[in-house]
């Protein structure tokens, strides 16, 4: 029993990070109907920014995280402006190709700056975890869950209770109609990129607290989060949160049944299965015809 509850706890912790990242994919997809493949790299850069602030500047981790979220939001806006906006009216594959090239570019830049060594900013002593229902959970992990819940709550309030959030939902629902009633969709798109990138940076810092930093850390995390967005129904914000938890649980419980080396492949497998059999996801996002051909 202890093992099962440990696996579930691990799944929920990993899942809450995937959920944070999945929100970025799903919000961008909701408005632009395009897969922002470089999103995982924003996460990685966010983690490295926070790392630099903690290790070189000596800031406390919470402040580093906030600053990293702000800076990453700016990076997200720049990426959209330079790499995606010129292609807004091109065919579907063009922005996907630039996004992939961009993600390789960003990885290489970070590799140049920080070198090939694995970095870590575990600042505190590793403490003995608390035992909750048989699962051992460390303070860090509790912090991850608390941060995730807080950020999601803030996002929820922003989307439902503010004028900007309403405009965002309108733009996601029908971009042309939103433009017609006077919503500046370019601004909304920039805001969506900013929010998504800030959340990804937060996720990057949370991952960095637990694990090591590597220039390629964004790739697998990105694909898992994208899978999470598809599971929940791409374009659907609540679906992304749900999908994140689902993928975290599936992959952690999955290593009961298959060798743990295949853990990272589970997400890809689920992604393909979901796209084939239920492309709208659990909660239903954008129309099914958009995903399946003919």
């Amino acid at each position: 029993m202890a093992i099962i509850s440990q696996l579930i706890a691990n799944g929920l912790i990993a899942g809450s990070i995937y959920a944070l990242v999945a929100l970025g994919y799903t919000m961008v997809y909701g408005i632009l109907e395009f897969i922002n493949f470089a999103h995982g790299e924003v996460l990685m850069i966010g983690a490295y920014i926070a790392y630099s602030l903690v290790v070189f500047v000596g800031l406390p981790i919470w402040l580093a995280m906030l600053l990293s979220m702000l800076l990453s939001a700016g990076i997200g806006i720049i990426i959209e402006r330079l790499a995606y906006r010129p292609l807004r009216n091109a065919n579907r594959l063009s922005p996907l190709i630039t996004a992939i090239a961009l993600s390789i570019f960003l990885q290489s830049v970070i590799l140049l700056i920080y070198g090939a060594d694995i970095r870590t900013f575990r600042t505190q002593e590793i403490t003995k975890g608390h035992t909750i229902l048989g699962a051992v959970i460390t303070d860090h992990q509790l912090l991850i869950i608390a941060t995730t819940i807080t950020l999601m709550l803030v996002l929820y309030l922003f989307v439902t209770r503010t004028k900007l959030g309403t405009a965002m939902r309108a733009a996601a629902d029908n971009r042309n109609l939103a433009t017609m009633i006077g919503i500046n969709t370019n601004r909304i798109i920039a805001i969506v990129f900013a929010i998504g990138s800030a959340l990804a940076a937060a996720a990057g810092v949370l991952v960095g607290v637990e694990q090591n930093l590597e220039p390629t850390m964004g790739v697998t995390l990105g694909v898992k989060a994208f899978t999470a967005a598809v599971i929940g129904g791409i374009g659907n914000i609540y679906g992304a949160a749900l999908g994140g938890l689902a993928i975290g649980l599936i992959e952690n419980i999955g290593i009961w049944f298959i060798p743990s080396g295949y853990k990272d492949a589970i997400a890809f497998f689920i992604l393909v299965i979901m796209l084939l059999f239920r492309p709208r996801g659990i909660l239903g996002g954008k129309k099914e015809e958009d995903i399946r051909r003919a």
Partner: protein, 313 residues
């Protein structure tokens, strides 16, 4: 001249890769982000067949390629139902799954430690141990592949492929079984990538999963996009340029990870700039072409040369 031969061998291998990707992405319009996986399947299968089973190299080359082709069919059958960008992500996922298998099926692939000491190919008792001889071998195989793909796309079959790329529903109304055509293009492209894999494995004599990552796929995509999607001559030129372009880096006195990063930066910047400013590449048609395209002097010049060459083929 060992170094020049080495570069030219790589050029031959990458021409096969970019031409085979072009068949899939340029002519039918399926963005395939799992091309490195087909490359890897060919490399692993051929290396293991020769080294462990003791199959003669020519048979291993063909078997490895067939295996890659079958992998193309297996990924194609379910995924061709998906729309363009989802197909791309699904092929990317497939590529990562193949790499996970290479890493984890240690009893077969030795995992991350890779397979060392892959024998050089032997044909009728002659071993291609010398770089010059290997170059001749790769050159002949490359010519053969390019010729076959060229005949394919120039035939009525190729016209259907382009019709599917330009207007899928239109092609369907003409009674074309578009899934069948896509599957043939995908598995043929995968087959040729498998051939490139075998050439690579027996040339380098060592393979490990890190040679078949997404970076490799993106390099191949860059070659095809640079040359122009939907142009075989373009793919050949693209492969030559992108293999030779970062070579001067080799002579700089820098740590190897810096050089690797700089190569990737060069490739990715070229790809981004191309897609934004010149999506049709040097010679491309269709797929990526934008309405505002102008015929440039370079393009006209390249097309003239291509015409002259074709007269002799």
């Amino acid at each position: 001249m060992g170094y020049v031969d080495h570069l030219l061998i790589l050029v031959c291998i990458y021409i096969i890769l970019s031409v085979s990707l072009n068949l899939i992405t340029g002519y039918v319009g399926l963005l395939n982000l799992g091309h490195a996986a087909f490359f890897g399947i060919g490399a692993y299968a051929s290396a293991l067949l020769v080294k462990v089973v003791g199959v003669p190299w020519p048979a291993a080359l063909v078997l490895g390629a067939i295996l890659a082709g079958i992998a193309g069919l297996l990924i194609g059958i379910p995924c061709l139902r998906l729309r363009g960008d989802y197909l791309a992500i699904a092929t990317l996922g497939f590529g990562e799954i193949i790499r996970a298998v290479m890493k984890n099926w240690t009893s077969l692939t030795r995992g991350p430690r890779g397979i060392p000491g892959i024998p050089k190919p032997e044909l009728f008792g002659y071993a291609f141990t010398d770089n010059g001889a290997y170059l001749a071998l790769s050159f002949v195989i490359m010519l053969l592949v390019v010729f076959i793909v060229w005949r394919m796309v120039a035939s009525p079959f190729g016209r259907v492929l382009r019709a599917i790329r330009e207007d899928e529903i239109g092609a369907m109304t003409l009674g074309k079984n578009i899934v069948k055509y896509k599957l043939i293009a995908l598995s043929t492209g995968a087959f040729f990538a498998g051939i490139a894999g075998s050439l690579y494995a027996h040339y380098i004599t060592f393979i490990d999963p890190s040679s078949f990552t997404l970076l490799e796929t993106v390099l191949i995509v860059s070659m095809a996009v640079l040359g122009g999607l939907g142009s075989i001559t373009g793919s050949v030129i693209g492969a030559v340029i992108l293999i030779l372009l970062p070579e001067p880096l080799r002579f700089l006195d820098l740590p190897s990870y810096v050089k690797a990063a700089m190569r990737q930066i060069i490739y990715s910047i070229i790809l981004i700039l191309l897609i934004i400013f010149r999506p049709e590449g040097l010679l491309g048609e269709g797929a990526m072409r934008t309405s505002t395209m102008r015929t440039s002097k370079v393009r006209a010049w390249l097309l003239r040369i291509q015409e002259k060459v074709m007269r002799y083929v």
